[in-house]
């Protein structure tokens, strides 16, 4: 209550001191500035050289970008304007982002495309309450979501756009894991294993008598849903005593630093860290033998059961708007899909599947071919040959 006259001055000195500290920090920052870039002075003038992790790609990018330019169907893209709203899965996000970026450029910035991340489920919630035009999904629409859309009178076209593979990885210091059977993975990850199955030799007798450490996706991610479904036979059924993270980079770090680790995450995260991780081949036990994930095996569907198609869902009524229609055509254009999807680390379909997708789009075939079921064991052409309902 009582305020002495000197309180003000004391306060002022204090705040001056605080200001001094801030200035000090900024000076530190400034001092760091000339010092820090030194190790990478070569990288600074030419930003294109930065992604050293992808040395093969850097020089080709310009050529690729040039190659993909003719894909725009000419002048009429520059005539349209409006907004395309996309939301949904974080797995599909990089693809939609790339498409949005290029489409906006192709329209001269007159069409505004926005892409959000709220997860496949969150995306469908917004999509079925008429808040978005396109929904990114790392799994097919579920029955509850089909019903919600129906209630609000939303019809949609289901369009598979690319492949995503889940990779099972161990540390490069692990010498014994080469190929794993699905039944062995199940023994490791099923809910009943919790607290009981903890050592390598419990999985295969000749493996060492040491504890293993498991790393996996967090329970809110589509990756978790898919892995548990494919390996344990039931979505979300998993042991709970493993290190879980929604951020796959944390899992990469964990497996790379632990000789007895085993983890699973999106194939793109393996591709960025090949020296720090060792891939396990997967034996689906259906006569195909051991298959390692690669662009070829994922695309051909021989890497089973851990490769899956990912989707976009387009609102039928939004297709009346030229900006949405042109955007989806741009998305499915085999040339765009082929280059852009590869650039962001996913595996594009063979061209004929995009043609089938375009055909479905032009025919405005609404509905889903999955009827609320999962993509597990679905043959590629089934995605298109079946008539959606």
């Amino acid at each position: 209550m009582v305020s002495h006259p000197d309180e003000a001055t004391r306060g002022a000195t204090l705040s001056r001191r605080v200001a001094g500290t801030l200035v000090g920090l900024l000076v530190v920052a400034a001092a760091c500035a000339p010092a820090a870039p030194q190790p990478s002075t070569a990288a600074q003038p030419a930003p294109a050289q930065q992604p050293a992790a992808r040395p093969a790609e850097a020089p080709q990018e310009a050529a690729k970008r040039a190659a993909q330019q003719p894909a725009k169907p000419g002048a009429d893209l520059r005539q349209i304007s409006g907004t395309v709203k996309i939301d949904g899965s974080s797995t599909v996000f990089p693809i939609s982002e790339a498409m949005a970026e290029e489409f906006q450029k192709a329209t001269g910035g007159k069409v505004r495309v926005t892409v959000g991340i709220s997860g496949t489920g969150g995306g469908f919630k917004k999509f079925c309450s008429n808040e978005t035009d396109v929904s990114d999904a790392s799994r097919p629409i579920l029955q509850a979501e089909i019903d919600a859309c129906k209630k609000n009178g939303i019809s949609y076209v289901e369009l598979p756009v690319a492949f995503d593979g889940l990779s099972v990885v161990v540390s490069p210091r692990n010498t014994f894991v080469d190929c794993m059977k699905v039944s062995e993975l199940k023994k490791m990850w099923e809910p009943a294993a919790q607290g009981k199955v903890t050592k390598w030799n419990q999985i295969r007798a000749e493996w060492p008598d040491r504890k293993f450490n498991l790393f996996g996706a967090g329970a809110d991610s589509g990756t978790f849903d898919y892995f548990t479904d494919a390996i344990n036979g039931k979505e979300k059924a998993s042991r709970g005593d493993f290190i879980a993270s929604e951020d796959d980079n944390v899992l990469v770090q964990g497996v790379a630093n632990d000789a007895d680790a085993l983890g699973y995450f999106g194939y793109a995260y393996y591709v960025e860290n090949p020296g720090r991780l060792k891939l396990a081949k997967i034996d689906a036990e259906k006569g195909g033998g051991c298959v390692a994930p690669s662009a070829e095996t994922i695309a051909s569907g021989t890497y089973q059961p851990l490769s899956r198609p990912i989707f976009i869902y387009v609102k039928l009524s939004a297709l009346e708007r030229p900006e949405v229609r042109e955007f989806v055509r741009f998305y499915l254009n085999p040339q765009n899909a082929g280059t852009l999807i590869k650039q962001v680390g996913y595996i594009p379909f063979p061209e004929r599947l995009y043609q089938l997708g375009l055909r479905r789009l032009e025919a405005k075939q609404a509905g889903t071919v999955f009827a609320g079921k999962t993509t597990l064991g679905v043959k590629l052409d089934d995605l298109f040959v079946k008539t959606p309902s």
């Binding site: 200001a19 996000f93 970026e101 960025e272 650039q343």
Partner: protein
């Protein structure tokens, strides 16, 4: 705090007891000088402990800063600040997020500052101590402790859905304004309470009305304290992510908002998106984004300190 062993024995009530409380001269105690030396040593140890605690905070801050600067400075170029996001890390920039954050900050301040100050003035200067004002006070104190995601859910239900504002800057700013309002109200009230009573009474004695006292005496005197609260509140708003993700701020946006009804993204969301990507080059530009966010925050704080100092110097009591 250490005590002489004799102290731990229960003592009868009365003179001895009260003398102990008043601080008995140490030479009367068993073990005289040794006890004094121990007491001094304990005092010194305590001081060192406090110093160490202070250093922990500063050290952690310095380590974090050094790490972020090391990672982020090489990619922090003008191009980075003036480009839209991209799938190529070397072409991606922070423009949309930076402008979105500044828009959000301005709109939030526009809603929260006048409302917060007015509410603080009413509670301190006008409200009688009735049950109503007490209920309001308790509620404001509680609101300051509500997790931010709850505000996000409120914003989603009220602004985005019911009021049909969509996922616009306006909906985001209103949500943020609700989030920081309790902080502004509480700091305003504390600043007003620190204005000496004699000042008000002097003004009343000269025939000033209540509103003249508030405008002419109380608010100028409370300004430095209020400014501190406002800047703290706005600093919180610029770093918050959870409520904005809940109301559906976007992640990829390659145009600048031109009106409060446009969609937007903010720095923390953009940084989070880059950090969670597989490519290490995105992690580097995420660090650059963090530097941009830090610079915005630190310059806000520096401005606040400058304004507060100026306001204080003007005061002459």
């Amino acid at each position: 705090m250490s005590r002489p062993p004799a102290d731990t024995a229960p003592r009868p009530a009365g003179v001895v007891h009260s003398r102990r409380r008043a601080g008995v001269p140490t030479h009367r105690r068993p073990g005289g000088t040794a006890w004094r030396a121990r007491r001094k040593a304990a005092g010194r140890a305590y001081e060192l402990l406090c110093l160490a605690a202070t250093c922990v905070g500063i050290l952690v801050l310095l380590v974090l800063l050094a790490d972020i600067l090391r990672r982020g400075l090489p990619t922090l170029t003008w191009e980075f600040i003036s480009s839209f996001p991209s799938r190529f890390p070397q072409q991606a920039g922070i423009k949309a997020a930076l402008v979105g954050s500044l828009w959000l900050l301005a709109l939030t301040a526009l809603f929260a500052v006048p409302t917060g100050i007015a509410a603080g003035v009413w509670l301190e200067e006008y409200a009688r101590r009735t049950w109503l004002s007490r209920v309001i006070e308790v509620n404001i104190a509680n609101l300051a402790g509500v997790p931010s995601i709850i505000y996000g859910l409120l914003g989603l239900g009220l602004f985005v859905r019911t009021l049909q504002l969509q996922r616009s800057l306006l909906a985001g700013a209103l949500t943020m304004a609700l989030l920081v309002l309790p902080i502004i109200i509480i700091s305003t009230r504390e600043a007003i309470r620190a204005v000496p009573r004699s000042q008000r009474e002097g003004a009343y004695a000269l025939g000033a009305t209540r509103s003249q006292v508030v405008w002419g005496i109380v608010l100028p005197a409370a300004l430095p304290g209020m400014l501190t609260g406002i800047i703290l509140a706005l600093s919180r708003a610029i770093g918050e992510t959870a409520p904005l993700i809940t109301i559906g701020a976007l992640t990829f946006i390659a145009f600048l908002p031109t009106s409060p009804l446009d969609p937007f993204t903010v720095l923390p969301i953009q940084i989070f998106n880059w950090v969670s990507r597989p490519q290490p080059a995105f992690h580097a530009i995420a660090a650059s984004g963090i530097i941009v966010l830090l610079v915005v925050l630190l310059s806000m704080n520096a401005l606040a300190i400058y304004l507060r100092d100026r306001a204080r110097r003007k005061l002459q009591w």
